[in-house]
């Protein structure tokens, strides 16, 4: 009897954990106008922090955007050359357009190599066990990076 109770409690905790993990994911709305795509509302209604976003694009454990993109960040070396440089990204795209590209570039370009940083976890094929139920970046991290990228208006 004791064992059953313990099992029941554990099962309940596990189920709640799972349910919460699922609820963590904030839905977003894609809007299209001609060839332009937008996610107007910030994920989970969060507001981004430019300084944290700048850190996240450098950090190999977070966005690691530098792995593929050159950016106006001189203190970090080894900028990748897979994607386009981002020095002027805010001149080319609005904040809502940048957000789409970070959430999942495949929404715009199905052939892209770029990971979907806020793609729904269930949409990944053969997802590693350690990543079950998780997005690549948290909604907060995405918003931080969007805020940072939205400051990049260098012409060169």
């Amino acid at each position: 009897m004791m064992n059953f109770k313990r099992f029941a409690v554990l099962a309940l905790v596990f189920w709640l954990g799972e349910a919460l993990a699922q609820d963590d994911y904030c839905a977003w709305q894609l809007r299209q106008e001609g060839v332009r795509f937008y996610i107007d509302e910030p994920l989970c209604g969060l507001s981004g922090d430019v300084a944290r976003g700048r850190q996240a694009v450098i950090d190999r454990e977070q966005g690691n955007c530098l792995a593929c993109h050159r950016m106006p960040i001189t203190e970090a070396d080894f900028h990748g050359e897979i994607g386009p440089p981002l020095h002027d990204v805010a001149l080319r795209y609005s904040e809502a357009e940048i957000r789409v590209r970070i959430v999942d570039e495949k929404l715009i370009n199905p052939d892209t190599i770029m990971p979907g940083f806020y793609r729904h976890p269930d949409d990944n094929y053969r997802l590693g066990a350690a990543f079950k139920g998780k997005t690549f970046l948290s909604a907060q991290q995405v918003e931080d990076i969007v805020a940072y990228l939205n400051t990049l208006k260098e012409t060169y």
Binding site: I113, R126, L127, F131
Partner: protein
């Protein structure tokens, strides 16, 4: 006339895949690493070659060794055949990787218990045998009888995996030669395998390397020696056609 020629050629063009001109991983290495690979005394993979050579001559309880048929130094091995694996073996009526073929020889001709895929003994023998064929040009046949394996390999090569959601093809064909942060993307050619990797300080089989790729993609690896990896090995060996065997390669 020309129009007819085009129609005749069409199936050939459609059938020939957009395989890139093969470039060995060696060509992506810096001068120091190249020197290590080239120098038999510096190349740490040579230890496995020597151990494989010993095993090749090991008589075991059966009082029989690979060397009995293939020569003490493997001089009677058919080097062209080694460079043709994976290949369809009529005798076994299926596609076999070199490791599988060695294992079949081990069980059928030496009367020993079958070894699991990537067993250390198999890996050592494979390394020795491949090293024996070093410099031999890879010529793997895209065999009609192994069409299903080729297609499975191609499917896996172009499938998005894990949280990264990338394909082998994107990194190693589309963006080959470009920098991913600090490292240049290679074609991921297999001609140097088994390779010695300094990152893990060990001899690394091709299938183990596949495992590492899948982990990097934040995905679930397939089974070592399983159909998926063998199919991938076949598909990638065909991509390597024209390159020379370099076993044991060295990598970071």
């Amino acid at each position: 006339m020309h129009r007819w020629l085009a129609v005749l050629l069409l199936p050939v063009i459609v059938f020939a895949e957009d395989l890139p001109e093969p470039i060995s991983g060696y060509d992506f290495l810096g001068p120091e690493m190249r020197q290590i690979q080239d120098d038999e005394f510096l190349n740490p993979g040579m230890e496995a070659v020597e151990a494989g050579h010993e095993l090749f001559n090991w008589p075991g309880d059966e009082e029989r060794a690979c060397a009995d048929c293939h020569g003490a130094n493997g001089d009677k091995l058919d080097l062209k055949a080694i460079a043709a694996y994976p290949r369809f073996e009529t005798r076994y009526n299926r596609l076999m990787t070199l490791q599988e073929r060695i294992n079949a020889c081990w069980t059928d001709n030496l009367d020993r218990f079958s070894l699991v895929y990537d067993d250390e003994k198999l890996l050592l023998l494979e390394t020795f045998v491949r090293n024996k064929a070093k410099g031999e040009v890879i010529q793997v046949l895209n065999d009609e009888r192994a069409r299903d394996m080729y297609q499975l390999g191609a499917l896996i090569y172009k499938e998005r995996f894990g949280q990264m959601g990338m394909t082998c093809h994107q990194c190693h064909v589309v963006y080959q030669g470009r920098y991913l942060r600090g490292s240049k993307l290679t074609q991921g050619q297999t001609n140097g395998f088994p390779v010695y990797r300094f990152k893990s300080d060990r001899l690394t089989s091709l299938h183990r390397r596949y495992n590492e790729c899948f982990v990097q993609l934040r995905s679930v690896p397939y089974e070592v020696g399983g159909e998926e990896y063998r199919a991938l090995e076949y598909y990638m060996a065909i991509m390597s056609n024209g390159l020379k065997i370099e076993t044991p390669g060295v990598r970071h």
